[in-house]
Amino acid sequence: MSDHAPPGGPLRWEVTAPAEPAVVDTVQDGLVALWREGAVDPHVALRLELGLVEIVANIVEHAYDPAETGREITVVVEVAPGRVTASAWDNGRPTGIDLSTVALPEDDAESGRGLAMALAALDELRYERDGERNRWSLVCLR
């Protein structure tokens, strides 16, 4: 599941797994070693991790019809000079979300914070339909 580029290239980690809640743990376990190897500042690491966890959780909860099978998500994380980036692809339905309208809900809301928190944590968040898949692109500057 780990794939390191040649010396001089970015550190890289990736996984393809069923789009189920357990994939959140898989991703976070993978990040532990990547952050250590890349000597990533803990604050930058936390921001990227929070953004990525929220996007992955959003995919698991919202990208599929309840009865849909064959759910698959691919996550790639890279540590490069000046930035850490992540991409997440899923084979779910297109999302109709307009990220420019996302805001935190009222303080007593029990859900609906995920995308707003991802936007607040990250320096860049983009969504696009990529063929039959959704692609989310995340960037934190370091």
Binding site: A22, V24, D25, A109, E110, S111, G114, A116, M117, A120
Partner: protein, 111 residues
């Protein structure tokens, strides 16, 4: 795997200590732990976050749900000793005003 240590202290305050990450994987267990304390007669609950290494929106949702459950039963839910990672998320969402971090589980209900 996130574990939840649950106890009732000498003053009848329920104390839940999540050990690990609070995300969509574990948030349901936190809700259940708080609900069981309240149902068992302990509507004052402290969530001790000193061993919680990560908090996301699902974990926050579980804390807010627990707060409502406790208040509806005439009690309250307070959080104590958050780690730096958890405090950063509380500040990012401005929920450190609603869930004001207390110094320790032992003193969380002193004031």
């Amino acid at each position: 795997m996130t574990e939840f240590a649950v106890r009732i202290d000498g003053r009848g305050v329920g104390v839940v200590t999540p050990q690990g990450r609070l995300t969509m994987v574990s948030a349901r267990s936190l809700r259940t732990a708080v609900e069981e304390l309240v149902a068992g007669g302990a509507p004052k609950v402290v969530v001790d976050l000193s061993e919680t290494t990560f908090l996301d929106s699902s974990g926050l949702g579980a804390l807010i749900a627990g707060l409502k459950t406790c208040r509806q039963a005439g009690g309250d839910l307070r959080i104590a000793s958050p780690t730096d990672a958890v405090l950063a998320v509380l500040q990012l969402t401005n929920l450190d005003k609603v869930l004001r971090p207390r110094e320790s589980a032992e003193t969380a209900f002193d004031v």
